[in-house]
Symmetry: C3
Subunit: 149 residues, 3 copies
Amino acid sequence: MHRLEDRAEIHDQMFRYARATDWLETENHLLVFAEECVFASPHSGDMHGAQNVVDWMSRVLAQFEATQHHISNISITFTGEHTATAVSYVRAWHRFLDQSKPDMILWGEYHDKWERIDGTWRIRERRVLEAGIEPRRDGGAVNPRRAKQ
Amino acid sequence: MHRLEDRAEIHDQMFRYARATDWLETENHLLVFAEECVFASPHSGDMHGAQNVVDWMSRVLAQFEATQHHISNISITFTGEHTATAVSYVRAWHRFLDQSKPDMILWGEYHDKWERIDGTWRIRERRVLEAGIEPRRDGGAVNPRRAKQ
Amino acid sequence: MHRLEDRAEIHDQMFRYARATDWLETENHLLVFAEECVFASPHSGDMHGAQNVVDWMSRVLAQFEATQHHISNISITFTGEHTATAVSYVRAWHRFLDQSKPDMILWGEYHDKWERIDGTWRIRERRVLEAGIEPRRDGGAVNPRRAKQ
């Protein structure tokens, strides 16, 4: 029931995702995502396929001097021997190369489907929801459970 | 000594607390707190009983468009087979419905007593201390160890 | 391979480091660092020896009303029975006693070498890299992998 080894492996993959992004080693996302995957960021539609995730990351990250993705509150639910869902929080800080722009911060949630493929846990689907963005702006994909108010 | 399964269960409950708050599913605090509990937030006195925690949460959260509670640095000390103390850090971000108010951020600490009751780890006592609040203001419950300077 | 007990012990030591700093119990760094150690903060040169770390911490922390070090994304790689490397993220918030100064925030990375000495995991070397600092300023030790762009 506790599946502590599997939890540790998924945690490690979550942080590899962050470093692949923050260190501009975007090709390392191929080690985290399943080849057939869905990635839905707040301000893009659904992307399909790990290589498309890499390409998109490489493109959008070029505008930043630095980013940092702090992942916390990782909650994993195993749905089978090789499958799990996970919810986690992220505070994603973005500093633009254009120094006239203020830092942009996403207070987000990752809603994931994980699958163990050939012995490695990978993201089959990641949906990024927004609690909010600084500076304040509208749009994005709000968690419907919060938005119900 | 390591009690890794118990740690994982307490971690999961810590994050359930955050989601119950951030997703406005305040009734889920009944799954986290012991029925007989104490919750001391920085700007209220001690509250007693899980239902009072739910009622207070529902009341104060109504003023926010969104909140997010990032919990980190979770340190657990087991004091018995079914009891533990825990210290953790929280960065609690609050965005008001009133858009003229700036986001409020609490840099806090949770000082907890946990107890396993009928097989489930629950919060018997949670005291929220403040490292600081943005925008800067006075008041709150400062960690006396820091305040000794 | 998973070494879950060792991971938990290193996690605990990481958080003890944060509390030793944030609670001004700087002498507790002697419980975290190896006696012979290197600590390289972004705005100092390399420091050698745990007592020098304590002295430096006590000196620089005196200017702050409060600090909080949120550690996340802890990734540990065991390199031997008693040795490991680790990368983690830190969001280090600093509030000055001088109220005319804005809060200073370091978005950093800890790049560590850990060693188990007499049964306790300790930091043999910690290098603090900077993703960025708020308010924005130049200088510091940038992760060369990010800086390659």
